[in-house]
């Protein structure tokens, strides 16, 4: 055996493991053609891929008639929302951009890549060939405001902390006020004029926001030592989780009006929102319960030993930790809820999916189902994928689950 002189390294230097390097042929051999059956599998798969992709791509680029999307873009985005009031939606978006920019600068100063998305996506949208110049300007404004918020946060990180928290907590009521309006300053826009992507988004946001307190109460009820409260919570949660969302929407549409005192009426959209909230609350309760159960018992005991009573233990010690841990799960639930809002189309609301049927009923666009539904699917996909990507990055950046 040969004794080789060990190579001398300067102290503390740690070499990274050697990276594997292949030639192109080597890579192909290892990943696609390593054995005869892998080779066969690869070839068959390639053929199937070719057989599916070729006609699809030909259709998308040469045969599909995308005018139906371009002509109805506003309908898809905001539905019947009055044209002269659309600036309110932009205002809400700009406020969102500002808040997100600020939050990024304060909470994740090191995470640049996702922050850049805030600029790149609106600019990309602004450069789409078929949108109106009004939207174009507004998207550029959106990006600028986002950057402004970020810059402000970088410049005054200490001073902006409090305003940011106020903004984050106040965003939801401001949003609702902006969209629905308040006399005499902003014209009232009734909920049955809300539609398209706007309605889809609002349903999801309202669902998750209002189900949050309800869900926490139900989770606490399920954990409680009081048998009556516990039974009630379990019954509610399990019943809602045991039936499909459409049946709950069906109930909300048909039975909610019956429950109200005579003379009081609520419209379709509000009923659907009530249904979404009741539905989401049961799932939220289970998510929060997961967080509650993850808190070690020592925390309870320590709080009791310090002389805190039951309420104080819950609200100062347990809940803050539990809720911090379930943030990623709640983001996941929001994405699921965003997709689930499409079911309101079944009970006749004009959300993104519901409006598609209206568009397809126009005589000049009959038979354009593929184009319209592909476009809608793309919108849903972009939003869900972007949100889940962002939340994954956020989890890593915040170190959730680590201490």
């Amino acid at each position: 055996m040969m004794n080789r002189e060990p190579k001398q390294y300067s102290s503390g230097e740690v070499l990274a493991p050697p990276t594997e390097r292949y030639t192109i042929l080597g890579w192909l051999h290892k990943n696609l053609f390593s054995t005869w059956y892998y080779t066969l599998l690869t070839l068959v798969t390639l053929y199937i891929l070719y057989a599916i992709l070729k006609p699809s791509l030909i259709w998308i680029f040469t045969q599909a008639q995308w005018e139906v999307v371009v002509a109805n873009l506003r309908l898809f985005m905001v539905g019947q929302y009055p044209k002269d009031q659309i600036f309110r939606i932009w205002l809400a978006l700009d406020l969102l951009a500002f808040t997100v920019g600020l939050a990024w600068a304060l909470f994740l100063p090191k995470e640049r890549r996702v922050g850049a998305v805030l600029v790149i996506i609106p600019l990309l949208l602004a450069s789409l060939p078929f949108i109106s110049s009004y939207s174009r300007i507004n998207w550029i404004l959106f990006a600028a405001i986002g950057v402004a918020g970020w810059a402000l946060g970088r410049w005054q990180p200490k001073k902006m902390r409090r305003p940011l928290i106020v903004l984050m907590l106040g965003y939801f009521p401001i949003l609702i006020l902006l969209i629905s309006g308040f006399e005499p300053i902003l014209k009232l826009v009734k909920t049955n004029y809300w539609g398209g992507l706007l309605l889809t988004m609002l349903l999801a946001v309202v669902g998750i926001t209002l189900s949050f307190p309800l869900g926490i109460l139900l989770a606490l009820g399920r954990q409680s030592e009081l048998p009556i409260v516990k039974t009630f919570s379990i019954l509610y949660i399990e019943m809602v989780r045991g039936v499909p969302l459409v049946t709950i929407l069906f109930m909300a549409q048909l039975m909610l009006p019956l429950f109200l005192p005579p003379g009081m009426k609520i419209d379709n959209v509000l009923r659907a929102m009530a249904g979404m909230v009741l539905f989401a609350a049961a799932y939220m309760a289970e998510n929060v319960r997961g967080g509650l159960q993850a808190i070690p018992k020592g925390q309870h005991e320590a709080a009791w030993a310090l002389g805190l009573n039951g309420f104080q233990t819950m609200f100062y010690i347990i809940l803050p930790q539990a809720l911090r841990n379930v943030i990623p799960v709640i983001v996941g639930q929001f994405i699921a809820l965003f997709k689930d809002t499409s079911l309101v189309a079944i009970v006749g609301l004009l959300d993104l999916l519901g409006i598609a049927s209206t568009v397809l009923a126009q005589p000049e666009f009959i038979g354009r189902q593929r184009e319209v539904y592909l476009f809608i699917a793309l919108i849903y996909w972009v939003f869900s994928y972007a949100m889940s990507y962002a939340s994954r990055r956020l989890e890593v950046a915040l170190g959730v689950g680590e201490r």
Partner: protein
């Protein structure tokens, strides 16, 4: 020294009961208030809750029914047709989604770069699009775009593929069919005995034979022998092939699958398979690499490693989330209404439109879905208990 007692307003046990009683009063009072409002509203419309309407004549047609049904049947029977349709589509959906999901999940772990990427892209696309959108696209964009029946694509069989769905040859029971059912029952019995004996042998010797394979083979053998025997003795096979025929504007005979059914089933299968694939992948990845290496070191071959070491351990991680996927599929089958397949929700909706009985229909519908959920989770919990790790 006088013993100090806690006054009752600071006694925790008393306080707890007071809190519960207050809670109960609030719940009951608000429930009663809502109930009162409902009854007033219903009385105004002359629709006081009762289930008598179930015995009235339905008067509407249902496109697909597993049991005989015509428009002169009752609402109750219409509802039953809807329930059976839901069960049919959920049952088939669960089976196919499991198979496809396992295939995609294994592809996701494959060393083959192409398969791996295809599985990843598939999962990322499907999971981020609402099922309802997929279903509508699948129905209107694919199944309704097939050629008209006159220009139908004819596959060997003959199988007609058109925008009216698929019509294909299918077995039709003949006079000897009921006899053959006895043979099948006997085969099942024999397979059970083989299963039992082999498990016993496996327990005694410590070498588990291929129990599933042998008992399946037993059943198939009996089924085959019975088929040949009956055909030879009675000169008639238990099943005759029924081929679809083109008659005017429709096909007659064979098995007819409507585009609604096909779109719903395949939509549910493709959607749920993406979720099941992730469950399967997580399950297989949860088995630590050392287990595989240890099994190989003990001299097990690849297949044995999978069957005896990886799979039983992965199953424990897989079963609970799989249960919720099955439940989701069953609940998601209610989206059928949007593409016109007559499932429970769709039939219930029609009944509500005709009778105006919102409360009763809602109660019935929710009760049925709840019992589906309950049955599935009871079965899966039982199965989960069976395969659970037995610890000392």
């Amino acid at each position: 020294m006088k013993e100090t007692t806690i006054p009752f307003w600071r006694d925790e046990r008393v306080l707890k009961w007071i809190a519960q009683i207050i809670f109960l009063i609030i719940v009951v009072a608000s429930g009663a208030y809502l109930y009162h409002n409902m009854m007033t509203a219903l009385a105004q419309r002359g629709l006081l809750p009762s289930f008598h309407f179930l015995k009235l004549t339905a008067g509407f047609d249902i496109g697909e029914h597993l049991i005989p049904y015509s428009r002169s049947d009752t609402y109750g029977r219409a509802l039953l047709v809807g329930i059976l349709n839901t069960i049919e589509v959920s049952f088939l959906g669960i089976i196919f989604a499991t198979i496809l999901g396992i295939i995609i999940g294994v592809m996701r772990l494959s060393q083959n770069w192409l398969l791996n990427k295809i599985a990843t892209v598939y999962i990322e696309i499907i999971r981020n699009v609402p099922l309802l959108v997929l279903l509508v696209f699948w129905y209107t964009g694919v199944f309704l775009q097939f050629p008209r029946l006159k220009e139908a694509k004819i596959l060997p069989g003959p199988t007609y593929v058109s925008n009216r769905g698929i019509a294909m040859p299918w077995g039709k029971p003949t006079e000897t069919w009921h006899l053959y059912l006895y043979v099948l029952a006997f085969g099942l019995l024999l397979a059970a005995i083989v299963w039992w004996r082999l498990t016993l042998i496996g327990k005694r010797t410590g070498r588990m034979p291929l129990v599933t394979v042998w008992s399946t083979l037993t059943f198939l053998g009996v089924a085959l022998l019975g088929w040949i025997g009956i055909t030879l003795i009675y000169h008639q096979a238990p099943l005759a092939i029924d081929r679809p025929e083109l008659k005017g504007l429709r096909t007659v005979g064979g098995l007819e699958l409507t585009p609604e059914f096909l779109a719903l089933l395949s939509g549910l299968v493709f959607y749920t398979a993406a979720f099941i694939a992730e469950v399967v992948r997580a399950g297989i990845q949860s088995v630590s690499k050392g287990q595989v290496e240890a099994a190989r070191a003990l001299g097990l071959n690849g297949f044995q490693t999978l069957r005896l070491v990886v799979f039983p351990q992965a199953l424990r991680v897989i079963v609970p989330p799989m249960t919720s996927q099955y439940l989701n599929l069953t609940k998601n089958s209610s989206l059928a209404v949007f593409i016109g397949f007559p499932d429970l929700y769709s039939v219930a909706g029609t009944i509500h439109n005709q009778t105006g009985r919102a409360v009763e229909v809602t109660i019935l519908m929710m009760a049925v879905y709840l019992s589906f959920s309950l049955m599935t989770s009871v079965f899966m919990n039982w199965y989960n208990k069976k395969i659970r790790l037995v610890e000392r």
